[in-house]
């Protein structure tokens, strides 16, 4: 396998690992799928639509987020937002994330 391809695969795996955290964090405020994708993109997080919508569906099924339909500019939009359980989970995930970043940074800097 080519070097770039290997790097691309690893990067993709890293992104895939944190996508749930990114999405949950954006859903503190209600968002519909497309606005969520755009916001994530603006913040430098690329998510394919084909990943995002099934993920939202899964999170909803796990009862972490809630959804409701709204009519806007003659268009039906499904808004998603964190529920109480989701907020608690997000708080804990953020702590976990910080721990991972900290220890990984420590590890990487220690090797330099």
């Amino acid at each position: 396998m080519k070097e770039e391809k290997i790097i691309e695969n690893f990067t993709q795996e890293l992104r895939r690992g944190i996508i749930t955290l990114n999405v949950l964090n954006e859903l503190i405020e209600p968002e519909y799928g497309y606005s969520l994708a755009t916001k994530l993109q603006e913040k430098g997080i690329e998510v394919e639509q084909n990943t995002l919508y099934p993920l939202l569906r899964r999170l909803e099924k796990q009862n972490i987020i809630e959804s409701s339909w709204a009519l806007e500019d003659s268009r039906q939009r499904k808004y998603y937002s964190l529920n109480e359980k989701g907020k608690k989970i997000l708080d804990k995930l953020i702590i976990e994330w910080k721990k991972i970043v900290e220890s990984t940074n420590y590890l990487l800097e220690g090797d330099e």
Partner: protein, 332 residues
Amino acid sequence: MSKMNFIDKYVSEVSRRLWKKNRKDIEKELKSTLEDMLEEKVGNREATEEDVVELLKEYGNPKKVASSYNNPDKFVIGPKVFDLYLMVLKIVLAVVFALTILGSGISLAFSETENVFLELLLIIPNILSAGIGAFGGVTIIFALIEHFSDEEIDIKDDEWEPKDLPEAVEDYDKVNVLSIITKIILIIFALVVFNFYPDKIPIFYQSGGDWVFASALNMEALSKFLPYWNILWIVSIVLSFIILIKGKWNLITKILDILLSVFSIIILAMMIKGPNIINLKELDLLNPQLAKDLSPVFSILGNMTKVFFGILISVILFDIVKKSYKIIKDRV
């Protein structure tokens, strides 16, 4: 063609691959997302057909989009590979049937047995066991692919063209009126011909420059099987009329339709086991010499009708599997 039509067709192509439970919701969301994306893409100007085609291409192959929604843990053979599974199964079954029949035919040709009929009978369990074996084998292989694939089976994005999408499905229980009417007409035709004019199903031969015909059907065999066919045909006609009147399929009519297919398989299997449906009895009365000359041809023809029944059985079986899968998918 309007640009929205393209989006509708695309959404429909995705949603018909989904399970009923989430279908409407995903349809609505996908449509509104595509419209948002289109708006973003073209800005203030009016979107053209090319814009829509480009957008759909970017969004990806409908099969891939649908498979991203379906939870792969849930299936023995999931929607990702189901189309491929059906195609492979069709090919493998056709090849297995052909080879079994060919093999049995060759061994029959070289065998010195007196009891050809018994040998012929033995072909049926051979075909059945080979068919079941092939079916099981292909299914196991695909179940394994499904189990170990981890979404690595790539659905290629270049293998589809937005302009080739079929019309959007408006109603999954919609009745195809034309096909049902055609079916009723064909059944009535079969009912009339086999019940009232079975002697008119002929073989022709030339006698002194004139064409003469003799009945080729084995009346004895026919009288044995016809009552079953009559029951099947009449129930089919009644069912077809009920469906036409209701204008829609429902779970009961769909299951009845499948049961009728099962019944037709049973009759066909009986006909394979039973006596040949064509014979030379009447020709023998009219022209004994010709009947004698034709008898080897007829014994081959007789076997060929049985092979044909076998093929028919596999086609109906395949149809039953397909219909059952659709029933399950459209209800759950």
